[in-house]
């Protein structure tokens, strides 16, 4: 059915119509995909402002206010002093929850899944932090610059065993992954290209946690990489890889999968206009992200509610939509058990996402996480209890509560029979315990797993 999506229609700017209006449902979809969700008030303001203005404001809010930066930097310094990478993961969860620059953080997460590096192996909070900052700095910037920087990033070199790469026996690991996973995709290079590119990277080392070039260990001979010949070093090697036609296509496909739809897999025809746009903009990321977020396809029923929420989207989204705050350390731990430990991707391929987020363990885990959040005395909603918060939002009756959840948190409508069943569970008393049970049941619905 994917063949039937017309690329011209898909990427043209969405114009609200009577049939496809700019409403709370679409606004919520935009905020969920371009960030981690929004409150009811934010959604209603966005509907008022219009779709174009909302996308504009999302694209513009990509620098964090200095006061917020001061706060997260101070937190980072304190965290790094402990040397505990797990705590850094909590720091990032806090940042995601609290930052006003939602798109920037979402893109940083995207690149973390793309240039996946795990603290389980790197085991150095400072190096992981430096890489995280690098990803954030270039998150909406220049892909080629990011690719070169990540190729020399100490955390990455440790992760892919290139901490010392000697000319006599080059280590092929990074050469393979930069082509297979970071830039071109499988099938767009040969085994010979890997061996030759590995020679380009010889002499790239880490000394005292910093990248350094050791010219004595560099193979200065001629190489032949992806059809080009010369006495290339690593920088030129990266440049050749980034200049391949497959690169913009590969990156655009990943962006569409991340922001729009995971299934069916987008065809090359559908992606081509975006790849062209990336190439025309010298691999600048922001313009193509804007194009995606403003597009017909993005605002269509082929996109809304057609992705499985990642654990981060699930948990941070739940809290953010209800102005929630909680113990970040426990939150980060829980994300890990749900399959998305921040700074702990499962392999260099990152998270596969989609249906792979879902299995018996993670489904029970998701349900248990919501319960844990509801029961924890560290969790606050708008600095209040859940019941007080919901009342302050004008949700007096239990039906109002379901409405509020549906508006802010459900991409797929709650079936009316399920509404009735949850209402029955909540009973008439409306006490805090009943409310928790009802919310817990709502968040265990299959519908709640889609975003």
């Amino acid at each position: 059915m994917n063949e039937t999506i017309d690329p011209v229609w898909a990427w043209a700017e969405y114009q609200p119509t009577a049939h496809e209006p700019w409403d709370v449902r679409r606004a919520a979809h935009l905020f969920r995909r371009a960030g981690f969700g929004a409150t009811r008030a934010e959604l209603h303001a966005a509907v008022e402002a219009g779709s174009a203005a909302t996308v504009d404001s999302i694209m513009q809010s990509t620098t964090e206010p200095s006061e917020f930066l001061k706060e997260v930097d101070a937190l980072a310094t304190a965290t790094l002093a402990t040397g505990d990478v797990q705590k850094l993961s909590a720091w990032w969860a806090y940042r995601m929850l609290a930052t006003p620059a939602q798109l920037l953080e979402k893109m940083t997460l995207f690149w973390h899944g793309h240039f996946a590096t795990s603290a389980a192996k790197v085991d150095d909070a400072q190096l992981m932090f430096a890489q995280n900052n690098l990803l954030r700095e270039q998150a909406l910037g220049d892909f080629s610059a990011l690719l070169l920087e990540i190729s020399r990033d100490p955390a990455m070199l440790v992760y892919l065993d290139s901490a010392s790469n000697r000319k006599a026996h080059p280590n092929e690991n990074y050469a393979r992954e930069i082509m297979e996973l970071f830039c071109l995709g499988e099938g767009n290079y040969t085994e010979q290209d890997i061996r030759e590119l590995a020679r380009c990277f010889t002499g790239w080392e880490i000394k005292r946690e910093k990248f350094r070039f050791n010219r004595y260990q560099h193979d200065t001979g001629p190489k032949n990489v992806l059809g080009e010949s010369g006495k290339f070093g690593g920088e030129k090697g990266v440049e050749i890889v980034a200049a391949q036609d497959a690169a913009p296509l590969f990156i655009a496909t990943k962006l569409v999968t991340f922001f729009v739809m995971e299934e069916p897999q987008p065809t090359e025809d559908l992606i081509a206009p975006l790849a062209q746009e990336l190439r025309d903009n010298d691999m600048q990321i922001a313009p193509v992200v804007r194009r995606i977020l403003s597009s017909n396809l993005f605002c269509s029923n082929m996109a809304i509610g057609r992705k499985v929420r990642s654990p981060v989207e699930f948990a941070i989204g739940f809290l953010r939509s209800l102005e929630g705050s909680t113990n970040s350390y426990e939150l980060a731990e829980n994300l890990k058990t749900l399959g998305q430990g921040l700074l702990y991707p499962p392999s260099v391929k990152g998270w596969d996402g989609g249906r792979t987020w879902i299995n018996s363990s993670t489904l029970l885990g998701r349900s248990n996480l919501i319960r844990h959040l509801l029961d924890s005395d560290k969790t606050r909603f708008g600095r209040e209890s859940l019941a007080d918060y919901l009342r302050s939002q004008g949700a007096q009756k239990f039906d109002d509560v379901i409405d509020l959840f549906e508006e802010t948190l459900f991409a797929v409508k709650i079936p009316s029979a399920a509404r009735d069943r949850v209402r029955q569970l909540a009973g008439n008393s409306g006490g805090e315990d009943k409310l928790k049970d009802a919310v817990h049941a709502l968040c265990t619905l299959p519908e709640f797993q889609l975003g």
Binding site: E172, E191, V308, P346, A441, T444
Partner: protein
């Protein structure tokens, strides 16, 4: 378990689906495979050694000069190997496997691979899991296809179980059979309000059919429903099990002990899947590889002995594989890069013990890599036909000759 949830579970598990839920008839050849399947309570435990195990330093050609030349740093000393014969020996830490071999319970299939080997972890693993190449439409795995068609329509137990916190293996994917992934038994339950009323509500909310049209929602719905049912079943399964010996305190051994617990508690699940990661040894291979091989060898041998002590020995076959071997020559970081053929292990009381096939020649290489002589699908055919007793052709998408690692039936 209530009637409705039991029925719900059945409709989402194994072979029941194609007949009960959809009224869709399975192709005749697959029905035959299901009818032919008489596995007699036999169990298959798959141990995936993820990352590409260095087969050359696992089954070591210790007298071969080429081996020593290619690996000045990493070659294992002649006097250190656990000798299998005059040319080959197991890595010195694999005492558990050596014991199994001695007892006649370990079959070592050498030189396993496939044509045009792919050295990407992810692609190669997908090939092993699905028996299909990238240009084919891959939607299910070899075990998933087995469970889908030959699974147990009469049991409320899961058709397969994946133990681990990582994502579910592609090998277990199928159109309809939902295989639970279990991190640990303690966490495999719904927390919170424990009253029957709440549990009932949650189960009913998950079980309710949704309007059609959203495949993804149907998938999540059936997954949620089977998760809740499986957690109830496993909670009830009873945990009156004491291990016969002490399991090593490793993640792999923990998973295998959980498998032992479940088997012993009477679960009829025929397929268990566990994974151990870290075989991607590009740098400083020595210590890491040693530790990994020890975990596999000790973990699997403890598990098998435990199962024998509990009277389940004859029901167990364990398959240990990796997506590829490493290059013959070591690299500058005292590690090895991605290569090709490697050994596969089958353990159990039924196996034909010893070496199957020749060790791949170190003098006849292709681009510095070993040439395989046994297709991995022959190993699967052996398991499917001679252990699970079904027709392997449809499941493997082709006819592959079984090996004499297991006796013909």
């Amino acid at each position: 378990m209530s009637h409705s949830s039991r029925r719900q579970f059945l409709t989402t598990s194994a072979a029941a689906t194609s007949v009960l839920t959809f009224g869709r008839r399975a192709p005749a050849f697959l029905q035959q495979a299901a009818a032919d399947s008489q596995s007699d309570g036999r169990i298959l435990v798959v141990v995936e050694m993820a990352g590409g195990n260095d087969g050359l330093n696992t089954v070591v050609p210790y007298t071969d000069d080429e081996y020593r030349k290619a690996r000045p740093e990493l070659a294992i000393g002649k006097s250190d190997v656990l000798k299998i014969n005059d040319n080959l020996g197991l890595h010195p830490v694999m005492t558990g496997f050596a014991d199994l071999l001695e007892a006649g319970h370990l079959s070592i299939i050498q030189g396993v691979g496939y044509d045009n080997p792919n050295r990407s972890h992810f692609e190669s693993m997908d090939i092993w899991h699905t028996c299909q190449r990238k240009d084919e439409n891959r939607i299910d795995g070899w075990l998933g296809r087995y469970l889908q068609e030959a699974g147990q329509a009469t049991s409320s137990d899961p058709a397969g179980l994946h133990l681990g916190e990582d994502k579910q293996p592609f090998a277990l994917m199928s159109r309809d059979a939902r295989v639970p992934s279990i991190r640990s038994l303690d966490q495999f339950r719904l927390n919170g309000n424990e009253t029957a009323a709440f549990r009932k509500a949650v189960r009913e909310l998950a079980d309710a059919r949704r309007d059609g049209g959203n495949d993804l929602l149907s998938f999540v719905q059936s997954s949620t429903s089977s998760a809740i049912t499986a957690s109830e079943r496993i909670e009830v399964a009873g945990m009156n099990y004491k291990p016969s010996g002490e399991y090593p305190s490793t993640a792999l051994a923990n998973k295998l002990q959980t498998v032992a617990k479940l088997i012993n508690s009477g679960l009829t699940t025929p397929v268990y899947y566990v994974r151990i990661d870290g075989f991607d040894t590009h740098a400083q291979q020595d210590g890491a590889h040693q530790s990994l091989l020890r975990q596999v060898s000790d973990g699997v041998s403890t598990f098998l002995k435990d199962m024998m002590a509990h009277g389940h020995g004859d029901r167990i076959l364990c398959l240990c594989f990796s997506e590829f071997g490493r290059r013959v020559a070591e690299n500058a970081s005292k590690g090895t890069d991605h290569g090709t053929a490697g050994p596969v292990f089958l353990t159990g009381t039924h196996v034909k013990a010893g070496l199957i096939g020749q060790h791949p020649s170190l003098r006849d290489l292709q681009d510095g890599d070993l040439k395989h002589h046994t297709d991995f699908r022959q190993v699967y055919a052996t398991v499917l036909e001679r252990w699970l007793k079904c027709d392997s052709k449809a499941i493997l998408r082709g006819k592959f000759n079984p090996l004499n690692a297991l006796p013909p039936t």
